[in-house]
């Protein structure tokens, strides 16, 4: 693909032809405020925040504007500033200003954009009448939908359509009543939603938020423990507990995507049912025991059943290193090749 040269606020940059002006700017580290844009999704041109002036003549939305050689873009033209400020003021007109307790505080695109375009108390008053109050949809066990925080960017709808091909949600109703809804506006848990949480991850505001979200103190890069796809993820840790899972966008297998089990199915690690000590059977009943007691019992019994009297069932859930040692133990210590695992089940 060819490269084209354009200028943004006088700065010469090179972009690949076929890119939009917004993509070219962001790729070159230049911020143009935007809300409905997401790098994984096709440009939508809905929020009108990414407006720029082209060749000092016309106003255009940069997320829909293909780069052309010699194009001169201005992002700080007075007319541009006026339009995007009004757009943002309209977006926050109904928005609850409960930022401090909001899930997305400090990670909110609306905050970032409002700050960048210079929304003021005065300016907000122009449009502000009341906060929209629509009951939260709390039917999904993993995330809540708070319509009053929704800015109608459609990123959730497009994620569910373009990336997931599930189409559980779409716009419903008209005008100021317009909301993101499931078919028949039923609670999300009664829709075809698969609870993958991909929309929650991409929501730029707090309209879609994980129910029990806690910010992790640190994250550890690992691999999902469920199916054989092997998605890369980050385990979020707080104290001695796993509190979050985030898809690894750099992993070539899943490129950041996760399914409902991978993203939300980690509570078993922290579950009170976890085995915490060895158990041995005494008088027909399993009772807690020490490692020494358990290992002695095992060593004694295993020593007497080497060869044909012994069998190992390994596990497709263990690591390679675990499995390697288990077969080495079976073959070299227990003197038999009778080791198999659950591959066929």
């Amino acid at each position: 693909m060819n490269n084209v040269n354009i200028t943004i606020d006088g700065l010469a940059i090179t972009a690949r032809s076929g890119m939009t002006v917004l993509q070219a700017a962001l790729a070159n580290g230049l911020y143009i405020p935007n809300l409905c844009n997401h790098p994984d999704l096709a440009p939508a041109g809905l929020c009108r925040v990414c407006v720029v002036k082209v060749d000092n003549k016309k106003i255009a939305i940069s997320c829909k504007l293909p780069v052309q050689d010699g194009m001169a873009i201005s992002t700080e033209d007075p007319e541009v500033m006026q339009i995007r400020k009004s757009s943002v003021e309209l977006l926050v007109a109904y928005h609850p200003l409960t930022c401090l307790t909001c899930e997305k505080d400090n990670d909110c695109e609306l905050q970032r954009v409002a700050h960048y375009v210079g929304v003021t108390q005065e300016g907000m008053k122009r449009y502000r009448r009341s906060v929209r109050t629509i009951p939260k949809d709390t039917s999904n066990p993993f995330f809540d939908i708070d319509h009053s925080k929704c800015i109608m960017c459609g990123i959730c709808i497009r994620t569910c359509d373009e990336l997931q091909n599930i189409n559980a949600i779409d716009y419903a109703q008209r005008g100021v009543s317009c909301i993101v809804a499931t078919l028949g506006n039923k609670p999300i848990a009664q829709s075809r939603c698969e609870s993958c949480g991909e929309c929650v991850v991409r929501c730029p505001v707090g309209a879609l938020a994980v129910k029990t979200a806690q910010a992790p103190m640190r994250e550890v890069s690992s691999i999902c423990t469920y199916c054989g796809v092997g998605c890369g993820l980050f385990l979020g840790v707080r104290g001695d507990r796993i509190v979050s899972v985030r898809g690894d966008r750099n992993n070539p297998v899943n490129k950041g995507s996760l399914c409902v089990k991978g993203r939300f199915g980690y509570d078993f690690v922290n579950h009170p049912d976890r085995l915490k000590t060895p158990w041995v059977k005494k008088d027909g009943k399993l009772v807690e025991a020490s490692w020494d007691e358990a290992l002695d019992l095992i060593a004694d019994n295993f020593s007497k059943s080497k060869g044909d009297g012994f069998a190992t069932l390994a596990s497709a859930r263990m690591t390679n290193e675990d499995n390697y040692l288990l077969q080495k133990f079976t073959r070299s210590v227990m003197e038999t090749n009778t080791i198999d695992h659950c591959a066929r089940l």
């Binding site: 997931q164 091909n165 550890v220 690992s222 691999i223 423990t225 796809v229 092997g230 385990l235 992993n251 297998v253 899943n254 089990k261 991978g262 199915g265 980690y266 509570d267 078993f268 690690v269 976890r274 915490k276 000590t277 060895p278 158990w279 041995v280 059977k281 399993l286 358990a294 290992l295 019992l297 095992i298 019994n301 295993f302 007497k304 059943s305 044909d308 009297g309 069998a311 069932l313 859930r317 263990m318 690591t319 390679n320 290193e321 499995n323 288990l326 077969q327 133990f329 073959r331 070299s332 210590v333 090749n337 009778t338 080791i339 198999d340 695992h341 659950c342 591959a343 066929r344 089940l345």
Partner: protein, 531 residues
């Protein structure tokens, strides 16, 4: 998989057979759906009208257990229409003439009769697969869990070979493997007939190699497979079983047999993260660490070896599995089990496993590597059997086309048990549910076993939607809630096996594939009745 996950998107045609991809492999399903959206021809072959059908160009709803007939019928169309890749066959395949002779059994009229798929649709699918290159085949347990599972896989391989869809990007024979590290467990020799890297235990050279590496005398006799182990426990030969991270009381086909065997077993050690149904029968239960509590590697379905990292300390006195094995070995006064960490174990693995020889933990820091990776400077192998270096694993190095004939499943519906039960999986649960049933949210989203039954069958039996019903086979009875829907065609019902309260595998058949020894959990005969 012969090919890689990220190549699926580049296929012009995709045949997804015996895989309920959106439920069992949702992240691979994203690629399949995206490919279909971009214009790839998606052919879904499944006895059930699964979710993926919404995205399919063609849907072949064949009778369970008739995959050989369906696939060989498609191949016959391809050969008859002159669409076979004769150059590829000449250069890289053996046995073509014998193979073509075996196609005479599969004229479309007979195939239609066997599979219940209209001949015209089979022809359309065959042409669609053959004329849209590159074409990829995805399959899963719907292909393998049959008393003729090996034949089913041969049929898939035949289809790919005849059209030259192997060894090139976005083609291939691609099994979607179930457990996170089922590929790695096989690679590591957790199998009765092979050492790590599929080196045969009855090959004297391989045995000598491992005797030298481990400084121990080894047995040249292949061991017992999973199902045979339970038979030998039952007859008293096997007296001690060391069972790690597995729950056969729920997961084994005809699970009552597994339970009866375990009840007779003198000494059972179970190593797991929960007190599973199987652990409750043990003489000793050992607490293991979860994936989040240990270091190591998993190998995924596309043969990619990736690093698993410890995030938190093991709960209570739980220990990583590798450490427990070392503890037992040392307690038995055995040499060769002194490892400081999994990295040292990987160093030993790479010294005896040619396909892993180039792997190091340092290299894995930069991302996963697909085996074969024979040297430290080899970048891994995304595509197997590529023309320039990819010999096939046969004596001649050429692929063998396999003549096949159709065999019915071991147990078909009859007057006493008139419905065919096939097992399936839910997006929200994993295997026997020992993990996912302990995640409240997943339990809310899918809380109980459901029997999918067609409205025609439900009406005939007087069963209403959401009514509790009894399902019985020659081996046992379970109860579950009926879900009346058109997902299953008339005559076929389906259940998952995630719920210990409705242990579906009490019903399933223990009939085995003669080669792979896999049980036929995809086909058995049942009766459904009101409670």
């Amino acid at each position: 998989m012969t090919n890689s996950i990220n190549e699926i998107i580049g296929a012009k045609a995709i045949l997804a057979i015996g895989t309920n991809t959106t439920q069992a492999h949702p992240i691979i399903a994203l690629q399949v759906k995206k490919a279909a959206r971009n214009g790839a021809k998606l052919i879904v072959a499944n006895p059930k009208e699964i979710d993926l059908c919404r995205h399919a160009t063609l849907f072949l709803q064949h009778r369970p257990g008739t995959d050989v007939a369906l696939l060989m019928g498609m191949i016959r169309v391809i050969v008859d229409q002159g669409l076979a890749d004769t150059t590829f066959i000449k250069e890289r395949c053996d046995n073509y003439d014998e193979f073509v002779a075996s196609l005479s059994e599969f004229d479309l009229a007979r195939v239609e009769q066997i599979t219940s798929v209209p001949a015209a649709l089979i022809k359309k699918a065959a042409l669609m697969y053959a004329e849209n290159s590159p074409a990829s085949i995805l399959y899963c347990m719907g292909i393998t869990q049959h008393s003729h599972g090996t034949d089913n896989v041969f049929a898939i391989s035949n289809l790919a070979l005849v059209t030259g869809n192997i060894g090139k990007p976005s083609t291939g024979v691609n099994p979607l493997r179930g457990q996170n590290n089922v590929q790695g467990s096989c690679d590591m020799g957790a199998l009765p007939n092979v050492y790590p890297g599929y080196q045969k235990v009855d090959d004297p050279k391989a045995m000598e190699k491992f005797e030298t590496a481990w400084q121990k005398k080894l047995s040249p006799v292949p061991g017992l497979t999973h199902t045979a182990i339970f038979d030998k426990i039952y007859d008293g030969t096997v007296r001690s079983l060391y069972l790690v991270g597995e729950n056969p009381v729920i997961s084994d086909a005809n699970s009552s047999h597994a339970v009866a065997a375990l009840e007779k077993l003198p000494f059972l050690v179970v190593q797991d993260i929960f007190m599973t149904e199987t652990a409750q029968m043990a003489d000793v239960v050992l607490p293991a660490a979860t994936f989040a509590e240990k270091d190591g590697t998993f190998t995924n379905t596309e043969r990619r070896i990736q690093r698993v990292r410890q995030a938190i300390a093991p709960k209570g006195q739980a220990r990583p599995d590798w450490q427990i094995v070392c503890d037992i070995a040392k307690r038995m006064k055995s040499q060769g089990f002194d490892y400081a960490n999994p990295q040292e174990i990987m160093t030993e693995i790479t010294s005896v496993t040619p396909s892993y020889a180039g792997i190091t933990y340092d290299r894995l820091e930069q991302g996963g590597i697909q085996w074969p990776c024979p040297t430290k400077d080899h970048s891994g192998t995304p595509i197997l059997h590529a023309a320039e270096k990819g010999l096939f694993a046969t004596a001649s190095g050429r692929a063998k086309l396999m003549p096949l004939s159709f065999r019915e499943s071991a147990e078909l519906p009859d007057d006493a048990y008139p419905l065919l039960l096939t097992t399936d999986r839910s997006l929200f649960h994993y295997h026997t549910g020992s993990m996912t049933r302990r995640v409240d949210g997943l339990n809310q989203l899918d809380s109980e076993e459901q029997l999918n039954i067609n409205p025609k069958d439900a009406k005939r039996l007087g069963i209403a939607d959401k009514e509790m019903v009894n399902i019985s086979s020659r081996r046992g009875q379970v109860s579950a809630k009926a879900r009346v829907s058109r997902i299953c065609p008339p005559g076929i019902v389906s259940m998952t096996f995630h719920f210990a309260e409705s242990p579906t595998n009490v019903l399933t058949s223990g009939a085995l594939d003669p080669v792979a020894k896999i049980p036929e959990t995809k086909v058995c005969a049942v009766r459904v009745g009101k409670q």
